[in-house]
Every structure is written in C-alpha cells, then in structure tokens.
C-alpha cells in the first residue's frame, strides 16, 4: 500500500510522529473498527477515528436523532433531528474524510446478530447506554476474542477500560453481573454534561489508535476513573478473575444472554438502544 500525495498531506501531522510514520498510517487505513452507539461516547470517538483515517468504521445504533441529544452527541446537527443516527453519523464522517468507508448498522444488538457483526472488525468500541448491551458486547468479544474499548459515563463520572480477551481482565472480571433493574438510575433521570462524554469517548478513540499502531500502554487490566468536578483521573488495578463467569478456565456462562427481558427500567423507557 502506497500513500497518495493527498493522504500524506491529510495525515502529515500524525505521520511525522516517531511512533506512527507512513507504516503506522497504513495500519490505520487498513484497520476496521466497530463503534456501538452513535451517541455521547460514540460521537467524539467516531470523529477522531474517522479524522485519523481508520479505513473502515462500522456504527451500530437503532435510534433517531432527538433535539435533546445535540447537547452532547456531536456527530449530529439540528437539521438531523428525526433522522436515523447512523445516517447522520455517516454523512458527517464522510464529510470530514472522503478517504474512508463508513458502514451503518441501524439495529439493536442481540445475542442473534452480534457475533456476525463483530467478526468483520479488528477492535470494538462500546459506547452504548445500557447494561444489557454492555454485558452482551463484553461476552461476545470474549467469545470472539475481539479487543474491546469500554467506556461509561454517569453525571460527572466517567470510566474506561480496554479488554484484550484471554490476556487482560474482561468486564465481568471487574463487575461479574449487571445490577438488577431499578437499583441504578437511568440516564434520563441522571443527566450528563456533554464534555464528560467527550473526555471518555476521546480516551476510547485514543485506546483504539494505540492498539492499531501498537504503541504505548493500553488501559488493559486498569480501570480509568474520571471525575469532572475535581478534574481527577485515577486508575485502579483490574486483575483477571480466576472465578470470572465467562473468561476464566471454568466459565459458568457459555452462551450469550439477552438481559433485556429482566430490565424493567429499560422497558419503561422508549424501547431503543
């Protein structure tokens, strides 16, 4: 693969980095990244990955853009209200970078479809908004041995961890089970500052870029905890759990679980991802 002149110009500020170079740029252009959720986390993540020249970006979201999304979901514009998020995401990302391919998936991930979708990609970014999807994505990535960048936000708190199945702790090593419905307030009740989503979504993009380039240290085996009110970043250790229900030697979970049916909180809200 030889970089064209316009590609050398477009990516010049990262090609000159000693850890990137032309070779690194070629890795990015060949990479395939799946982003789950075109919302608060997926927006900044997708914008940076598209700008950096990730060759193929898949985006999964079943929702349409709402006016109250625009405060933090910076992929979408006022004119997009009512359109499917994957459509406006594709339009915005293609406008930034004509060099890359954007694959929209307007659907909700389930145990039936997830394995087929993720198998096409090198690394998965979870920017979803609910526990059923988060556990489904973790479990599917463990089964498929796909690296996963996990990010979560709640009011002024953010978390991020990178999961390399078989090597570093998975999400169930960290939190073995999702909370029962009703115990954790929904996003709509909780509220979120857009910039907090920006911080965590950007960290996820950075993890993906480091993974593809093979540089630096990933947040593998480490949970990054961000608090926006005191601008603090802390890391705690996340060892692999020898009793992990899914990634240990004797797993108790051997097939994908659709948690939706248990989750009354979600049912009460609109039935969308």
């Amino acid at each position: 693969m030889n970089l064209r002149d316009d590609q050398i110009e477009r990516y010049s500020r990262q090609i000159i980095l000693p850890n990137v170079g032309g070779k690194g740029q070629e890795k990015l252009l060949k990479a395939k990244v799946l982003i789950i959720g075109a919302g608060g986390l997926g927006s900044p993540c997708a914008l940076y990955l598209a700008s950096a020249g990730i060759g193929r970006i898949g985006i999964v979201d079943s929702d349409a853009v709402e006016l109250n999304n625009l405060q933090r979901q910076i992929l979408h514009a006022t004119k997009d209200v009512g359109r499917p998020k994957v459509e406006s995401a594709k339009e915005r990302l293609c406008a930034i970078n004509t060099d890359i391919e954007i694959i929209p998936y307007k659907l909700r991930l389930t145990s039936e479809n997830i394995l087929d979708i993720i198998k096409e990609y090198n690394i998965i970014v979870d920017g979803s908004d609910n526990f059923p999807t988060r556990y489904l994505v973790n479990d599917a990535c463990v089964f498929s041995k796909k690296p996963l960048s996990h990010g979560g936000i709640f009011r002024f708190d953010g978390q991020a961890i990178t999961i390399i199945p078989g090597v570093s702790a998975c999400y169930r090593c960290l939190f073995p089970e999702p909370p029962p419905p009703g115990l954790v307030p929904s996003c709509q009740e909780a509220g979120i500052l857009g910039a907090v989503a920006g911080v965590i979504g950007t960290i996820q993009a950075n993890e993906v870029l480091k993974y593809i380039l093979g540089v630096g240290n990933l947040l593998a085996g480490k949970l990054l905890v961000f608090n926006a009110l005191d601008s603090s970043f802390r890391q705690v250790k996340v060892p692999r759990d020898s009793k992990c229900p899914i990634c240990s030697e004797n797993p108790t979970i051997t097939k994908l679980i659709d948690y939706e049916e248990f989750c009354q909180l979600r049912r009460k809200e609109s039935n969308e991802a």
């Binding site: 959720g37 075109a38 919302g39 608060g40 986390l41 997926g42 979201d61 929702d63 979901q73 979870d126 920017g127 979803s128 908004d129 609910n130 526990f131 988060r134 990010g151 979560g152 936000i153 709640f154 009011r155 002024f156 708190d157 978390q159 960290l174 939190f175 073995p176 089970e177 999702p178 909370p179 954790v184 307030p185 996003c187 709509q188 909780a190 979120i192 989503a197 949970l223 905890v225 608090n227 009110l229 005191d230 802390r234 890391q235 705690v236 250790k237 996340v238 060892p239 759990d241 969308e272 991802a273």
Partner: protein, 93 residues
Amino acid sequence: MSIKVRIPTPLQKLTKDKADVLAEARDIRELIENLEKNFPGIKSRLCDEKGGLRRFINIYVNEEDIRFLNLDKTLLKDGDEVSIIPAIAGGAK
C-alpha cells in the same frame, strides 16, 4: 484511625452530596459499619441481604480491589484511601 473514602456520584445522595468522607475503621467491615452509622442506607447499597458485597460495586483500598485482597477483612492503615466504584452504563442515549 481516619480513612478517606471516595463516594461515587450515585451514592452521594446518601452522603449529602459529599464526594469524600472520613471513616474510622481498622478493616473494610468496620468501614462499612462506620459509614452506615453516619450515612444510613449506604450499607444496603454496597452489600446484599446476606452481607456479601454486591457484584456490580467494587471497593478499592488505594488501587487494589478488595476481592483480590481479603474481602471485608482487608486491613486498613492510616493514610489509606478507599474508593467505592460502581458499574456505570451511560453512553449513547
């Protein structure tokens, strides 16, 4: 012995919006009892009916998860910092 405890956003309603509180304790079990005394209701958010730690909330002494130390018998010493970190799911909506 005074231990600084970091309270996550979802539990700050119980600590009158305080993100950091001080607790007197020699181990995690005492710490939870001490927190419960000062902030009634917090124990049931951390522990299930049988007294075990809930599976979607972790407690860290400095950077270490107590599940990989000595669970609620994990000893505390002056200057230790305890963090309570719950699973959070927000992202897209």
